[in-house]
């Protein structure tokens, strides 16, 4: 049981980390908490569901379709709301309310489009065979989720630490004003970051439909809370922190489910509260938290 919880915790934890990356990026760059993050994950799940049931394509193809779409939508949306946020005395609180509204709109549209019921994919991402890891048997989506999450996170890190735009993005994270003074196009870089953040959320949706046993419009709030917990545990604003936070979260959840199933439901919330109150800068971050 220990070995099972350990392996499951690591595999699912990597998925959680990936699912939280977008939230971390949007907060790091824009100081915006995207309450609608979980709802974007839900939209990604529905795309995967439709591809699989209507077009009979492997649901993981939702990722290459969702990424350009989400980047484009994110960039346009950011351009649309940026002036109002810029005018506000308290942009962080305003963005909270704004994305709260956006989250309601997405959930309502998803309900209108797909009904309130949960939709489940009957076949796994690579058939229905289970996978043996160290003598423990797992549904094959466990390793698949991890196998998508790790390269996905590496791509984000490559973008941030090895590309010119990534350098500009990191400059924005450390100081918006200084970035502007050094000639960085703050508006464009911010819009692109927001687009990438949405693309990451939508990509995680193609995995979430398996990990969470299906997709329903009302999942969004829980997914946002989970992603926020992961990001807070790992420390906001760096992708490695999000992955590490995901691991802590996944392991805690799996061990609780194995040993105390009655209380397992409380684990994410209690963990989130404990980290926020005891070490608000995150377990793994040495940097001071803003906001």
């Amino acid at each position: 049981m220990v070995l099972y919880a350990l392996i499951a915790g690591v595999l699912i934890g990597l998925f959680y980390g990936f699912a939280a990356l977008g939230l971390s990026l949007a907060f790091g760059v824009l100081r915006v908490v995207n309450i609608a993050h979980g709802d974007v994950i839900v939209l990604g799940s529905y795309l995967a569901y439709e591809l699989s049931t209507q077009a009979h394509i492997n649901p993981l193809f939702a990722i290459p379709i969702a990424v350009p779409l989400a980047v484009a939508i994110g960039m346009v949306f950011y351009r649309f709301v940026a002036p109002s946020l810029g005018r506000s005395k308290d942009p962080e609180m305003l963005s909270l309310i704004l994305f709260f509204g956006v989250s309601q709109v997405i959930e309502a549209l998803a309900t209108i489009g797909f009904s309130v019921n949960q939709d489940t994919l009957l076949t796994g991402p690579v058939g229905n065979a289970s996978v043996q890891i160290f003598g423990q048997s797992f549904p094959n989506y466990y390793p698949v989720a991890a196998a998508v999450a790790v390269p996905g996170a590496l791509l984000v890190m490559f973008y941030l630490y090895r590309s010119r735009l990534g350098l500009a993005t990191r400059a924005l994270m450390s100081s918006r004003a200084d970035a502007m003074l050094s000639g960085i196009d703050v508006g464009r870089t911010s819009a692109l970051s927001f687009g990438i953040a949405l693309a990451l959320a939508a990509s995680a949706g193609a995995l979430s439909i398996y990990v969470n046993g299906g997709v329903s419009p009302s999942q969004g709030t829980d997914l946002t809370t989970t992603a926020f917990a992961v990001v807070v545990i790992g420390g906001l604003g760096n992708p490695a922190g999000a992955l590490a936070g995901g691991l802590v979260f996944g392991l805690a959840e799996q061990f609780a489910q194995s040993y105390e199933p009655n209380w397992a439901g409380m684990v994410p919330y209690v963990l989130l509260l404990a980290v926020m109150l005891v070490k608000p800068e995150g377990l793994l971050s040495r940097r001071v938290r803003y906001a």
């Binding site: 109002s84 305003l94 704004l98 309601q104 709109v105 309502a108 509260l273 906001a291």
Partner: protein, 330 residues
């Protein structure tokens, strides 16, 4: 002596303004209370009226904590659920009558708020989401099968032995009066002034001698008390309920949107917001909740982008423009 005359007339004007203000305050408490007390002669659906009053109180509670401190509680429903379950426990285990139980529901919510005081160290989005996590944890605790002997776990609470449609209705009217009085008094009180100062600039307010932590804690406990009373009277009026019903995060959502729509920081804004929007919800939202949710979401986005002050700000702005047009420049 012309100078003394000017003085006296100035004093008279001040006194007149004071009386006008007192009259307005009194009206703000009495008018909604009397209207709700009379509402049962117009609309015989008492549960609907109680629900609207419950949302009026919740919106005022959000007004107290968000309007006066800037702390946005996504987990506000936690106090509501604590109130409902406090009432259930008081009836089922302490043998309290319904009125006492409702008051104890308010007390239960305050106790939860006391436990959660450390959350006030967080700010902005951190506070909003931490409060949501706390509410979800509380919901998970109450519905835990291991606590069946106390809360009846996931199997729901039954208050049917104290059910009284008329009794819970009058209790709700009383709680509306309490909520209105609380906001009016808070606005005029020293605490209200301190809270506004803290909201404008925490550091300067601290230097000016305001005990920032104590002031915020006061608003936090008051808003928890209002939600707990609302939860208690709601539990009494529906009499049988499940944890998922009284810890539904939609309740936080409604309370926040009603308050924002009407205008936070005002006395009557949240009342108008709750009554108007809940009637709209009742007309279209019960059969097609998703369309109502869509409208709701759009309203929130519009408020965030274009009308940060809510309905009240629109009305005040319109009055000011009219006054300017009439030549009465203030």
């Amino acid at each position: 002596m012309p100078e003394r005359d000017a003085d006296a007339s100035g004093q008279r004007a001040t006194r007149a303004r004071q009386w006008r203000r007192r009259g307005a305050d009194l009206a703000a408490v009495l008018v909604p209370t009397v209207l709700f007390a009379l509402a049962r002669t117009v609309d015989s659906n008492l549960l609907l009226l109680v629900t609207i009053m419950v949302y009026v109180v919740l919106a005022q509670g959000v007004n107290v904590i968000y309007g006066f401190t800037g702390y946005l509680p996504f987990g506000y429903v936690g106090f509501f659920g604590a109130g409902a379950y406090g009432t259930y426990i008081a009836v089922a285990h302490l043998g309290a009558n319904a009125v006492e139980a409702t008051v104890l529901g308010g007390v239960a919510a305050v106790l939860v708020a006391v436990v959660l005081i450390p959350l006030l160290r967080l700010r902005g989005a951190y506070f909003a989401i931490a409060s949501l996590a706390a509410a979800l944890a509380l919901s998970s605790l109450v519905s835990n099968p291991a606590l069946t002997s106390v809360t009846n776990g996931p199997y729901g609470a039954d208050l049917s032995k104290v059910f009284s449609a008329g009794g819970s209705y009058w209790m709700a009217v009383v709680i509306v009066a309490v909520a209105m009085l609380a906001v009016v008094v808070l606005r005029r009180s020293r605490l209200g002034l301190q809270l506004r100062a803290v909201r404008a600039d925490q550091v300067s307010a601290g230097y000016a001698g305001v005990n920032v932590v104590a002031a915020r804690t006061g608003a936090w406990l008051l808003s928890a008390l209002l939600a707990g009373l609302a939860g208690g009277v709601y539990a009494w009026s529906i009499s049988v309920f499940y944890p998922t019903a009284v810890f539904d995060t939609t309740i936080s959502l409604f309370a926040i949107v009603f308050a924002l729509f009407g205008g936070v920081g005002t006395v009557l804004g949240p009342v108008v917001g709750a009554v108007v929007l809940y009637y709209v919800y009742n007309a279209i939202g019960v059969s097609d909740p998703q369309y109502f949710q869509l409208i709701f979401g759009v309203v929130i986005v519009i408020i965030a982008l274009f009308l940060p002050g809510g309905l009240a700000a629109v009305l005040v702005g319109a009055r000011r423009r009219l006054a300017l047009r009439g030549g009465d420049v203030r």
